[in-house]
């Protein structure tokens, strides 16, 4: 069953097509990788899916429901939540309070929200940081906080926008394990990533975007052997 179906989605900014006629679907419980050169329209697509931009054309169907025109808060309540490429901690709040803001989407009781938040902090191994102000965290922990906060909203589909960007190899490895753990819990994920090794390891399927269009789609093996992908990444002369 498809958790997310994107059909013929286009997004225009004036005359510029940031996305044009992109279609694919994400199976429940799977990890979909989204790759492409800078400016390929990956983050724009995330914005269209999660309600930050209305798609100019096409349709986004999540869990059997048409999402076009819904605001981000509705999208979150329906079970789809994103993280940000440029992390957005609520700087003056403590780590646990940040995660509680996510958990409050599911409950109005602060006590319950705190329990849920601590649970998610355990998942990302940051319990010991609970009382620390979020603005003072190093980048690796900020990225993990983003994930914990998103998980606390109780999503069915998690959209991760470059959670490994700017991390060292050890930190990246930790995030990879985290993503696989989340998959083991049955959540569906869509992951934007530049680290090709990482995306090959974690993805069940991969969609490649270039200049706003879908270039190809397939299993990691299929994608890595695809001539068009090699051309797009390395230039045609290389082929």
């Amino acid at each position: 069953m498809a958790m997310l179906e994107i059909s013929h989605v286009s997004k225009f900014f004036g005359g510029l097509a940031a996305n044009s006629d992109v279609s694919f679907s994400v199976e429940a419980g799977s990890i979909m990788g989204l790759i492409g050169p800078n400016g390929a329209g990956k983050t724009t697509l995330f914005n269209c899916i999660t309600g930050y931009y209305p798609p100019s054309r096409g349709e986004v169907v999540f869990d059997g429901r048409r999402m076009n025109g819904l605001q981000p808060d509705r999208v979150c309540k329906l079970g789809m939540v994103r993280t940000w490429q440029k992390v957005r901690p609520l700087a003056k709040l403590s780590v646990v309070d940040n995660v509680m803001v996510g958990a409050l989407a599911r409950t109005s009781s602060l006590r319950k929200a705190r329990e849920m938040a601590m649970e998610q902090l355990k998942v990302v191994r940051m319990e010991h940081r609970a009382a620390f102000p979020a603005g003072g965290l190093p980048i690796g922990e900020r990225k993990k906080l983003e994930v914990a906060r998103a998980l606390a909203t109780g999503p069915k589909l998690l959209l991760l926008d470059e959670v490994m960007g700017g991390l060292n190899p050890a930190e990246s490895e930790e995030i990879i394990q985290l993503i696989l753990d989340i998959k083991a819990r049955g959540l569906t994920q869509m992951v934007i990533e530049h680290d090709m090794k990482a995306i090959m390891r974690i993805s069940d399927r991969i969609v490649v975007l270039t200049s706003g269009e879908k270039l190809t789609e397939g299993t990691p093996q299929e994608v890595v052997n695809n001539q068009d992908v090699i051309d797009a990444y390395l230039g045609e002369s290389h082929a």
Binding site: L90, D97, L104, T153
Partner: protein
């Protein structure tokens, strides 16, 4: 645990002292100062809910203060309706006004919201000046006599002294503190702060931004309107510049900025600084001190100049104070105290 107990004990002790104070202090001037202090705390706490916690820095809170004050006074003067009934009409009116203002201004963020809030308050002030049939225009509304407050035919108070106003003011200040305390310890407080820290992130976490901003505004506006009604009844006179002016909007905001935005006791600390300061300036206390100490002779040019001008200098001094606070205590007095405390803790370790 012992810390919360200590805090509760300190709060109760201060409250007990304040409740007993009028028994020992019958100077009307001292009572008047206390009433001004309570009024300032109420204004600062009310603004703080929207400006400090939710981060929506309104520079138009005079609009809500004025609507509360004017509605109560107009009903009293024109229809003879007692203020403790009229004030509820003021609250109803301010909710309508707040929702209209909110639906327009909350489309804007940051400095644009600030400008819009100023514009709306100015519209209210100009309306009060020009709708002479309703508001008596620039002349203002004067009500000299209050009806006695009775419960079951028994007169509780006839408002002949300042004491009933003292307790009313104290009650109002406590109400705004209690509401802030409740907001801080609820989902509302968390959502307000999330919006303040990062609106886009808050939106992605399931927070309906405009809904929660409007909730914050309505709570803030209703409390400000109650303060306005209290001011009108206590002073017995309202006119557009005093209850709807830009000065007032700025003053309300400064209470929280100087004391510490987004903290429960920040506006209390801000009031403890600002109320005595503005009173000292207004009453020429500083000039008198300089004269008494022999530094300046009362008949000299300097003495006369100070006597003439210092009373009007409070706006200038407020400006200097804000610059100093922003330079040296960007988190207000409350933030400064917290920083000192944490530094001391670190040194102890």
């Amino acid at each position: 645990m012992t810390k919360t107990l200590l805090k509760a004990a300190a709060f109760l002790a201060i409250l007990g002292g304040l409740l007993a104070l009028p028994r020992f202090m019958d100077s009307p001037y001292a009572l008047h100062m206390m009433i001004l202090l309570f009024l300032s705390v109420s204004q600062g706490e009310s603004w703080n809910i929207l400006g400090g916690y939710a981060g929506q820095h309104s520079v138009g809170h005079a609009a809500y203060f004025g609507v509360g004050a004017y509605t109560t006074m107009m009903l009293m003067q024109a229809k003879g309706i007692a203020p403790w009934i009229g004030v509820w009409a003021g609250v109803a009116a301010v909710i309508v006004v707040a929702l209209v203002i909110g639906s327009i201004c909350f489309r804007l963020r940051g400095p644009y919201f600030v400008l819009a809030s100023i514009a709306v308050a100015e519209i209210m002030r100009l309306s009060a000046i020009n709708l002479t049939g309703l508001t008596n225009g620039a002349e203002g509304i004067l009500v000299t006599e209050l009806p006695a407050f009775r419960i079951g035919g028994r007169v509780i108070t006839d408002f002949m002294t300042k004491v009933p106003f003292y307790y009313l003011g104290l009650g109002l200040a406590l109400l705004t503190l209690a509401v802030t305390w409740g907001v801080e310890r609820s989902k509302l407080g968390y959502y307000f702060q999330a919006i303040r820290e990062d609106q886009d992130a808050a939106h992605s976490l399931g927070i309906h931004i405009s809904l929660y901003k409007n909730i914050g505004l309505v709570i803030s506006a209703v409390l400000t309107a109650l303060a306005g009604a209290f001011y009108g009844v206590y002073v017995g006179f309202v006119d557009p510049p005093t209850v709807l002016g830009l000065d007032l909007s700025v003053q309300i905001m400064l209470i929280a900025i100087i004391g510490g935005m987004g903290t429960l006791y920040g506006p209390v600390l801000g009031s403890l600084v600002l109320v005595p300061l503005s009173e000292a300036l207004r009453s020429n206390m500083i000039t008198d001190l300089l004269v008494k100490s022999g530094l300046v002779s009362a008949d000299s040019k300097v003495g006369l100049f100070l006597k003439e001008n210092l009373a009007h200098a409070h706006v200038l001094l407020y400006g200097i104070l804000v610059v100093l606070v922003i330079l040296f205590m960007p988190e207000g007095i409350m933030g400064f105290v917290k920083k000192l405390a944490s530094r001391r803790r670190k040194e102890a370790v």
